[in-house]
Symmetry: C2
Amino acid sequence: MGQTMNLRRELAPVDPAAVEALVRATGVFSAAEVAVARELVEERMARGVASGYEFLFVEDEQGLLGYACWGPIPCTEKSFDLYWIAVRPEQQGGGVGRRILRAAEEEIARAGGARIYVETSTRAAYDPTRAFYERCGYARAATFDDFYAEGDGKAVYLKVVG
Amino acid sequence: MGQTMNLRRELAPVDPAAVEALVRATGVFSAAEVAVARELVEERMARGVASGYEFLFVEDEQGLLGYACWGPIPCTEKSFDLYWIAVRPEQQGGGVGRRILRAAEEEIARAGGARIYVETSTRAAYDPTRAFYERCGYARAATFDDFYAEGDGKAVYLKVVG
């Protein structure tokens, strides 16, 4: 890849705006989803670890390249949700997403996690997203038809780690 | 049933403590789950409708008989989660739960909801709970093995309403 990338776990003041811009730039998330992505960053900054949200940022000289957000699922022993993973559009397909996901999985395993769940849409626009998870070792665990809207179902993927 | 029951949607100052006591008395929820049940009540009192939590309480002269808590699932058009439904142990089997659930379903349909999801455990202790949902028209939509803990899976039920 030849690029200098920096992985960062701690949050910086620029992150709410940078995450919002990055998630919007991917073009696959609704305005409501973009707002949620930003809110989780703000929630983490306001409440720290108690927020239940963990982050990993990858950046180069240009700024944020991609990030992931995950957390333990309350009232479970070892299950985690991967809430967000996004990569700057012009960097997609170059292995950044896979690198972020692998780093997140290592953090989850280190925190005692054994099962990682990811939810995504069954719509055609998300074919690359679902293919990405499958390449990374995630298997479809459930499908909920019409979950997001009529004709827009939810697919749940699972990877057992640690 | 011959009992005088009052259905109430607005929250009262006694509710956090009453809900905690009722949920604990059922004997099927962990200490962490009991804490979550109370927190949702407090969240609603602090943030109102913006909390995303709606409640229905049923009470008699003795106090709280049962309650339900639900809310719209963010970033979906018509999907709702039923987060909690609980009935005082000595009142179970008398139709109180079914009455609360039906009233909650009516409120959800009135709010534009079309799909109601409920999550529960696959453990034997929850056989009566799952049988209750099935009697009330809910169908198993997914099963996640070992979700809560080793040997303790999550069952997701769905009812289409409205």
